[in-house]
Subunit: 282 residues, 2 copies
């Protein structure tokens, strides 16, 4: 296992690997790894000859009032976890290495970035698309794995790769949950014991929505109403949004048909948690 | 010489060339080639093992009232010219090949895109940066050559390559002029005989500006005033803009110092001509 901190070195390694005909698998992360990340890494490893994981907390994708400075970091622990999994390269650049001068260039994916988290986090997905483009140009992977928990992000990256003709296969991997259903997230560290218990209501509400659809309900508003009721009666969570959108276009759906994504963002204390579920409506 | 129309084929060729360690030189064009383009091709050829020229009139970079539909095209002639120069590959995709579905992704280079032509052609440089990113991902060049005539474009692409960590060396090649000083441009075809003669005043005005700076003038306003006077008294040209900007940041300069770019856009009939000159002021 090798830790690479310089862009030039990472590019050189990637070029050499490509010359040798090796398949590069890539998992971009912001570190503070949990079981969700590790599942992505396992998939990337299975599908490639050389597995690269990047760890970089990207300031561009945080709003001015968001948690960039307090975002949890623990490289030592991350390194141990990735070494145990047999990762080949950790790309771990400094902020100065990635942004040596003001970055005037940005990559935007219109429409897909406008709803859901995009509405409440302006600039977030622009920051994500820009750093992912940079990382793709540095790591030069054949395959990259993203988690379904950040569903909007994964769909945006997929579209970006298609639109910009990147030669990269994007894999969206299932959300990993704790036994009680809570989706793994680095931000779960912000939860106290009570909030952590209460936050299990999020997945319960998503399952309730799925059950309603499976039983024939097609009215999004009615489903969202029931979800809100469940969350607010069973927890102290403050709902940021709950939406039902088309799984491909991410456009809000009033009358459910085809494949939909039920997505939510809820605050528990200072932690903003997101989760979603995909449902084929029949 | 090979004409490649499909993205998949172009990528495959590029991958193979890179595996073989060949240097790919690239000149992106919109076709209807003139001596300016040919000079870029000659430079690309000199600096590479395999020279690729793309011909694609990119709808994204034209405004709704601009000349996308009437932009001159003549592939047969272009092919002949490029074959004579010993170009290895012409990448000549259809619009459907490049935009098979709505392109939601765009690449923007802030600040540098805001002044000069960017002010009067909103969305133009976004269209340019997006298509160039696509072409870079398809042709995978080591070197790409752009003309100084489109100076703002060249500076934007340079910054984009740096910001997005593309592994591509951008070369800015000198403007090629007719004997009378008129900068070569595909849009010169729009000029009638009288306009073509009159348009030589543009380069005269740039040389006047350079002379004034060399003789000690440091006030941009006074220089621009003299240029305007020359253009309007000696021609029917309608000035779109004349600006003196910092050669690196493209920020307008009131008091000239360091290296500046004197840039202009002037309409002759329906042809909007641009030209510029770089001057080291001291």
């Amino acid at each position: 296992m090798r830790v690479v901190k310089k862009i030039k070195e990472m590019k050189k390694i990637a070029d050499q690997l490509r010359k040798e005909g090796k398949i590069i698998g890539f998992v971009p992360t912001m570190g503070y790894l949990h079981e969700g990340h590790l599942s992505l890494v396992k998939i990337a490893k299975r599908k490639s000859d050389v597995c690269v994981v990047s760890i970089f907390v990207n300031p561009l994708q945080f709003g001015p009032k968001e948690d960039y400075h307090t975002y949890p970091r623990n490289f030592k622990r991350d390194k141990k976890l990735l070494t145990a999994l047999g990762v080949d390269i950790i790309f771990y650049p400094s902020e100065k290495e990635i942004y040596p001068e003001p970055c005037l260039t940005s990559v935007q994916v219109k429409k897909l970035s406008e709803g859901l988290c995009g509405r409440v986090r302006p600039g977030h997905f622009e920051g994500v698309a820009t750093i992912v483009t940079k990382l793709f140009n540095i790591v030069k992977p054949h395959i990259a794995v993203f988690g379904q928990k950040d569903y909007q992000q994964a769909i945006i990256i997929k579209k970006m790769v298609k639109d910009l003709n990147f030669d990269i296969k994007i894999i969206i991997a299932p959300t990993i949950r704790e036994k009680n259903g809570l989706a793994c997230s680095s931000r779960n560290i912000y939860l106290n014991e009570k909030e952590r218990k209460e936050a299990t209501v999020l997945y319960q509400s998503l399952r309730l929505a799925k059950k309603m659809i499976k039983e024939g309900e097609r009215n999004s508003e009615r489903i969202i109403k029931e979800m809100k009721k469940l969350i607010t009666t069973k927890s102290s969570g403050k709902i940021d949004y709950i939406e039902i959108v088309d799984a491909k276009t991410l456009a809000p759906v009033k009358k459910i048909s085809g494949k939909v994504c039920i997505a939510l963002a809820v605050f528990f204390g200072k932690a903003r948690l997101i989760d979603n579920i995909l449902v084929q409506s029949g």
